[in-house]
Amino acid sequence: MNEILTVTNVTKSFHRKKAVNDVSFSITKGEVVAILGPNGAGKTTTISMILGLLKPTSGEVRLFNLPPQEKQVREKIGTMLQEVSVMQGLRVGEVLELIRSYYPQPLAMEELIELTGLTEQDLRTRAEKLSGGQKRRLSFALALAGNPELIIFDEPTVGMDIHARKRFWQTVRTLAEEGKTIIFSTHYLQEADDAADRILLFKDGAIAADGTPAQIKASISKQSVSFIVDPEISLEKLYLNIEIHDIFRKNNRVYIHTENTDRILELLFQEKIGARDIQIERGKLEEAFEQLTSETKDAI
């Protein structure tokens, strides 16, 4: 297998509090993976361990089948961290040249400029004088400077305006098409859904779900089937079905929460309970996600 990253039973505790709790996953070449979760879910801690900036309390992280601190690993990864980093006293062009010199096969300067949207004028500006948006673009360029195989972004779009965001994701798509492996963290479901082909949903330091955006959305949004039925009819047969998460009566209607609405319909007709006026409802996705998010916040 082309496994670029493997995380095995990784736990990280700070002062006996577990920020990341027994997390395992692996990522293969060419995947675009979103680490999605609310603040405090352990996203940044996980990314720091992948980058070798933090050591796991237990468990193991391997990149390209090597420990993250190895030079060969560093030569193949590019990263954009949450804290905007600048180097005082240097022009943007000079910073880029410097960082490019660290890598054996850096990306050509022209290509860097084209990918990140830095202008000729930006290149001549001192790094500390850049605006927030320009700094993000510089960070993006720094991440790509070494022409990395694996790119890791920690909350990349924080502080970007809509235009910059759009451009950023377009570039990420281009990079993905070139076969690069991309990992990014975000707390926006929309972003993960648009940009990633796999989502790792983090909650309270653990992976709550791992799958395609469609699978993740199905698992967090509540779907229900509701219908009207004669009150005399017993619904006992339905209670026993494992597809049913919850069943209750409200305003003369029976509501069934489920992940598999098709199966429930099949069941209704099989059991011939005389259900009428059947409706299928899909809960609002963002609402469900927000609920999940706020629950975590309360827990902290």
Binding site: R74, S85, S101
Partner: protein, 245 residues
């Protein structure tokens, strides 16, 4: 090797563009030199010796300042702005990074020494033997090591403001009590006794001896080495303590 050269070059460019460096390490010592040799202490018995002595004091003052402040404050800046963290994700090794900082800093010191020496020759016509110029320059370059170690200690502080404040105070106290602004002989007895044990006095003393036709005393060298070891151990200890948290 390419990376190392590039890194050194970058460090040098950055220092030269730093206005504080240009002000504190080049302009101030030269202005002081002019004031204290022409306006304030114009009538001293041995004028030529005083002018050479004070030129050394000011060069030592300059190099001591940039060792402690330029390096230290920049380290704090890089850490607080996340640059150090980013660098750790790149293939640049710690050794190359550290070595380049030291080489860059030394080149800057060599440059400061040259400029201030030339200023001395131009302002007061200080003339020394070629051997004395070179030896005193080398002494100042090498004996600045304990102060670079102080710089790395300051570099461990969390906030740029704290680092700048503390290093400024330390810089001035060391300069005055080490006899760099005015000779220790004119100070009270107690100040003289304390001053002789300070790294700044021993730093200056070596250079003063050289321009008087002598050689740095063993005591100067030993005291400076002791300070270097002390500061390095302290810096290592603090770093380990910070990492443990």
């Amino acid at each position: 090797m390419k990376t190392f050269k590039m890194q050194c070059k970058t460090e040098i460019i950055r220092v030269l563009r730093n206005r504080y460096f240009v002000f504190w390490s080049l302009l101030m010592p030269i202005i002081f030199y002019y004031v204290f040799t022409n306006l304030v202490n114009a009538d001293v018995p041995n004028k030529a010796e005083w002018q050479a002595h004070y030129l050394m004091s000011m060069t030592v003052f300059s190099v001591m300042g940039s060792s402690m402040m330029t390096l230290g404050i920049r380290m704090v800046q890089e850490r607080s702005q996340g640059w150090s963290t980013f660098i750790r994700t790149t293939p640049l090794s710690d050794t190359v990074y550290f070595a380049a900082q030291m080489v860059g800093q030394s080149v800057i010191h060599a440059l400061s020494i040259t400029i201030i020496f030339i200023a001395g020759a131009l302002i007061n016509g200080v003339s020394l033997k070629a051997f004395e110029w070179i030896m005193s320059g080398l002494w100042i370059l090498l004996a600045s090591l304990p102060f670079l170690a102080i710089g790395t200690l300051i570099g461990l502080m969390k906030k740029v403001e704290t680092a700048a404040g503390i290093s400024n105070v330390l810089y001035m106290v060391l300069a005055v009590s080490g006899g760099l602004w005015m000779p220790l002989d004119v100070m009270p007895k107690i100040m003289q006794t304390i001053g002789k044990w300070l790294p700044s006095y021993n730093f200056g003393s070596g250079a003063w001896e050289i321009v008087r036709g002598g050689m740095p005393d063993w005591k100067n060298i030993l005291i400076l080495i002791a300070y270097l070891v002390l500061f390095m151990l302290l810096s290592k200890y603090i770093r380990r303590k910070q990492e443990a948290v």
